[in-house]
């Protein structure tokens, strides 16, 4: 199922379309941050990660922890597109009895590694998974996607210290630096800069990329995978709402979904992109 750069781009556009479909149908959810993360998540599931949808519990699989759990739609889209569950099930997002809960739940849906949604916790969980892999002599990698606003939570920095102390070179964090959180700009809400320096001072290797450039994503993941002792963070600059013109850079779409008219415009734009 390994895709090349063009194949990944195509998958990302399909996932974007799925994200708009499922959040609109649900009537709630977080499309903005799902769209900004789509290219990276597509690259993980369709090229970078070693995984087997037919065997989600495979001991040697690479792990993906979605710390910014509110962008569950991008994870669900990638899992469905990979074949972990039927795509029709995407329409059940956030509905009573669905395995696609508003935020990801471990044990409910194949492919979901950890329960997340309360921000600030995923990197700690990823540290535990990476530590287990190291202790067991396994060569799997653990990827953890963090929101930028999420980094205002102190537990991330406890985890950052831990990863460095235990030399978790098998841990790769990725920060979706779309610069917007629910209130507005991250720098006005609670400034994160200088962000790269913060991570470096905690003992991490830092790679900065354009999170919508698939080639840069693949290069960054390959480089990150070569680290032996230092944990690596990929800070990817992204655009919230990427792929839908009126959602791009618009904090309103952090936690708001399309109305009927917006949905028509969004699907039209994404249809063109997929073609």
């Amino acid at each position: 199922m390994e895709c090349d750069v063009d194949g990944i781009k195509a998958k990302a556009e399909i996932m974007r379309s799925d994200i708009i479909e499922m959040t609109t149908s649900a009537g709630s959810g977080h499309p903005g941050g799902s769209l900004s993360a789509a290219d990276f998540v597509a690259a993980l599931y369709f090229n970078v990660m070693r995984h087997d949808p037919a065997n989600p519990g495979w001991e040697d699989r690479d792990r993906f922890v979605l710390s910014k759990g509110h962008v569950a739609p991008v994870l669900y889209a990638a899992l469905a597109e990979s074949g972990y569950f039927p795509k029709e099930e995407l329409a059940t997002l956030r509905k009573l009895g669905s395995r696609l809960q508003g935020h990801p739940v471990r044990g409910k849906l194949p492919g979901v590694e950890m329960s997340t949604g309360s921000l600030g916790q995923g990197l700690s969980m990823a540290c535990g998974i990476a530590l287990a892999g190291k202790k067991d002599g396994k060569d799997y990698k653990t990827y953890c996607m963090l929101g930028d606003g999420e980094l205002q939570s102190g537990q991330n920095w406890e985890a950052a210290m831990f990863a460095s102390q235990f030399e978790l070179g098998n841990l790769i964090a990725v920060v979706d630096r779309n610069r917007l959180q629910i209130t507005g700009c991250t720098e006005e809400t609670m400034s994160l800069e200088p962000l790269a320096e913060k991570w470096r001072s905690f003992g991490w290797n830092v790679i900065i990329i354009d999170g919508h450039n698939v080639k840069q994503i693949l290069d960054a993941c390959r480089k990150a995978g070569e680290s032996k002792r230092n944990p690596v963070v990929i800070i990817m600059n992204t655009i919230k709402g990427k792929g839908v013109s009126f959602m791009e850079g618009n904090a309103d779409f952090h936690g708001k979904v399309c109305n009927r008219e917006e949905y028509s415009r969004a699907t039209e734009e994404l249809r063109k992109a997929i073609r």
């Binding site: 950890m114 916790q121 995923g122 700690s124 969980m125 406890e158 831990f162």
Partner: protein, 319 residues
């Protein structure tokens, strides 16, 4: 209380971990800069590469524990009770309890008998906090021997467990070779006039109170409720039906702990007079454990007086 050997529960926690370490290579132990006090340092001595020092970062410790457990490990995570349950309650809720992972939170230094350190370090709310979480099993052993057995049982148990231990030396009221089953209470003394349902070191206080009452011609039953969740409903109902009145006893707030659990059950199934002994809606303070037990009305005399209160309420209701 006289006649009983006194041992700190945490010493037997360390001992249990060492015994478990030998044949359970899946067991990891995490601590937050308090290994010398919680006695997880004993595990470190025998299984250094499965001991994880997390530093003073309890929230991260719980997340790491969850990640390890999701990777097939059985994880013991320890610190003082107030930090273990209070500082990282929501981490326990999301990362451990919700997915039902194999993380055993073993907290020492619970209760007012922490003593001189004062209110900041005296967890009087930890049972309430843990009991409110779905999927969480809550154990408060009566003494060091039972603490050992609870730790061994927790290692075998599938799912999250909270075990509460004290700091100081508690009288050993159980036998070293007793059998311990999670969810099963034990009647330590049979009686017919009143039932004490106690947990932690208050079990020894209730035994002492029962002896005092016997001298006055009152027959008190003493139940050691070492598992608070799931509560052994049958034992509570059977004893309450026999005696017709109940005193609960815990070194914890009367809000949300054992007393609440018993009162919830009895009010729905078998309403009999109940008196809850524990700390009230109040913080503790510095002092020696003995002084604090007197000031906060947790002594055997307080328990005996409570027994007489519920007996007289029972009698006035049957008149």
């Amino acid at each position: 209380m006289t006649g009983y050997k006194r041992i700190a529960q945490r010493n037997y926690y360390g001992k249990a971990l060492v015994d478990i370490a030998a044949d359970r290579s899946d067991v990891f132990v995490l601590d937050a800069d308090l290994a010398g006090s919680t006695k997880t340092s004993e595990f470190l001595k025998v299984a250094r590469d499965r001991f994880v020092e997390c530093g003073i970062a309890e929230q991260n410790m719980i997340g790491v524990a969850a990640g390890l457990a999701a990777s097939g490990k059985t994880v013991f995570a320890s610190t003082f009770a107030i930090f273990a349950t209070g500082r990282c309650w929501e981490q326990i809720r999301l990362a451990v309890a919700y997915p039902g992972l194999n993380v055993k939170i073993v907290a020492t230094h619970s209760g007012i008998s922490v003593g001189e350190d004062g209110a900041s370090h005296q967890a009087l709310e930890d049972i309430a906090l843990m009991r409110a979480l779905p999927n969480m099993t809550v154990i408060s052993p009566a003494d060091a021997y039972e603490a050992y057995r609870a730790v061994v049982a927790a290692a075998e148990w599938d799912g999250p467990v909270y075990i509460r231990m004290g700091r100081s030396e508690f009288p050993c009221v159980t036998e070293e070779d007793d059998i311990f089953v999670i969810g099963k209470a034990k009647v330590l003394r049979k009686g017919s006039d009143v039932t004490f349902i106690a947990t932690g070191q208050m079990v020894s206080g209730c035994l002492e109170a029962a002896a005092k009452l016997e001298a006055e011609g009152i027959s008190a039953e003493v139940v050691n409720m070492s598992t608070i969740k799931p509560l052994d409903r049958d034992t509570v109902l059977r004893s309450a039906e026999k005696t017709g009145c109940v005193v609960t006893a815990e070194e914890h707030s009367i809000i949300g702990g054992l007393g609440s659990a018993v009162a919830e059950l009895l009010s729905e199934e078998l309403p009999v007079p109940v008196k809850r002994i524990g700390t009230g809606d109040i913080f503790g303070e510095s002092g020696s454990p003995d002084e604090l037990f007197v000031k906060y009305n947790l002594t055997a005399d307080d328990l005996a007086a409570a027994a007489k209160t519920v007996i007289s309420r029972k009698e006035s209701e049957t008149e």
